[in-house]
Amino acid sequence: MVVGRYLKNIMNWFLSKLKKPFLFLNRHRLAPAFFIIFSALPLLAIFATVVMLPLWNDLNNNLRASATSDMTSGAKISSENPILAESIQLAQKKYQLKTEEAFLQAQLQMSKSDSIGLCINLRDSVISLLIRGVDVRTCKIEQFRISHAFKHLQASGAALNWLSTSFTLQRDWASIPKAPIKVKMAPKDTLEANQSKSEPYAELGKNDVYLTLQFDRNLMVHIRQTQTPSWRGRLWKLIYGTKFKFYILEDRITALVQGHLPTNLRWIELEIAQNDAVAIYRAIPHRALLALRL
């Protein structure tokens, strides 16, 4: 009872503090109306330009692509007519083969480049590093989640064009450094060199790993480790997440200032082992190529 009253008192105190800056709303009968209108206006304007219009634009583009596509696409259709059902099955098989063709073509295109490339195959749940078309490391994807935008893209048949060429890395964020560089000043003489000699320690690969890779054509790949993060790791994750959110804000504002609509991101979230995530992040160059299979 006492505790309840105590909590109630705290709540009342908090509410009174919360109400205080808004007391002006009781002093004029028009104030609440102006308050609602002027808070809703910027909110709606921002919501429309940052969320609704880009979404509308993307969905319309997908519809246009589906109208011109000769593919029956990956959408699931059922028919009670057996002949039609068979035709639909064949069309869907054709779509599957086309996606594999697009994936292979992207890999072959990547093999012409000297740099290390990334290959994400969501169908087989594997992610691999390729050098000149040779699989040098294949890692299992433990779990993944993809944006709902892909459903619309696949249904329209536009996904084939989108996937048939490799993606290029534009920017990355990570909770670990790309290269764990240690700076060492040259010793003045042999005595100082002997004093500064120490046993090499195991590499700093024990940090929790979260990374985001932004590719062209609005593709964003988030990679995180399967292992539960430490407290320090959680802090790093928070810092890394904040950095990414600031980037989103900057990107949206820049787009609006330049007079065009911000683009919607198609994202993929992957969960892989920590050592795999470290190896992938350290291996890929700044303009890495990616082949993707949905």
Binding site: S79, L90, P180, I181, K184, P187, P262, L265
Partner: protein, 247 residues
């Protein structure tokens, strides 16, 4: 009387303006507070826009295929499928051909591991040491070296038995010793690179080491150090021109 009248006339309008300003103050406060809250909420919407957009995609129904399904010609489709299968077989073959059938070496610099393979078959796996990522700077910072193993595809340029190490400038600077002339005798140190060395170009070697206890750690100046047993296996299997993949 007149004085009193004028005094009052002058004061009256001022008081009315003040009163109306006072009465409008809550409205002005409402406008600015509303704008502030609206903009703040807009900022949050912008930050979370990828997630909100995704809800939009989830809520919007996936369009039914608008292609006229009744017009699908089964026979034409089957022909298309056959053509596609052929093309795919060719592409798969091209992809397979990219993997060398002769022995090749894969070096993992983040975990310091080597894998000797031929095609898809693993011939040998073991530990190695790769670049330490140390940036060595001279006292006046006029010169600097970074000790990292390069990544990408390389070929074995030459194979050497009983290699002799020609110490570069950084080796002297790192030990606090004076740098000798380029071809001075003290630059040559036999026995420190093990029994064999395989050159990758640009001065990078795959070689042995005296410091076996450091194997598995990133401690080198960019070369790849192997244990004696691993070095022998690699030396015997790899030929001049064999491929080395480093990531």
């Amino acid at each position: 009387m007149n004085q009193y009248y004028f005094k009052n006339r002058r004061q009256e309008p001022t008081e009315t303006a003040g009163a109306s300003r006072r009465s409008l103050r809550p409205v002005i406060q409402a406008i600015f507070t509303g704008l502030g809250i609206g903009l703040l909420a807009g900022l949050l919407i912008t930050i979370w826009s990828p997630t909100i957009s995704d809800w939009g995609y989830a809520l919007y129904p996936v369009p039914k295929v608008n292609a006229d399904t009744s017009a699908i010609n089964s026979r034409a489709l089957q022909k298309d499928l056959q053509r596609l299968e052929k093309r795919l077989a060719m592409l798969r073959q091209l992809k397979r051909q990219l993997t060398p059938r002769e022995p090749y070496l894969i070096i993992n610099t983040s975990e310091n591991l080597i894998t000797l393979k031929a095609g898809d078959k693993i011939l040998h796996q073991g530990i190695c040491s790769t670049g330490s990522y140390t940036l060595l700077k001279t006292a006046d910072e006029s010169e600097q070296w970074i000790f990292r193993t390069p990544r990408g595809r390389f070929r074995i340029q030459s194979k050497i038995q009983n290699p002799v190490w020609r110490m570069p400038d950084w080796a002297f600077i790192e030990e606090g010793r004076p740098v000798p002339p380029p071809y001075a005798n003290e630059r040559y140190e036999p026995g420190v690179l093990g029994d064999y060395a395989l050159a990758l170009g640009d001065g990078y070697l795959i070689h042995g080491t005296l410091y076996q206890r450091y194997l598995g750690l990133p401690v080198t100046h960019g070369c790849i150090r192997l244990a004696d047993r691993e070095l022998e296996i690699v030396y015997k299997n790899m030929q001049v021109g064999s491929k080395v993949f480093i990531y």
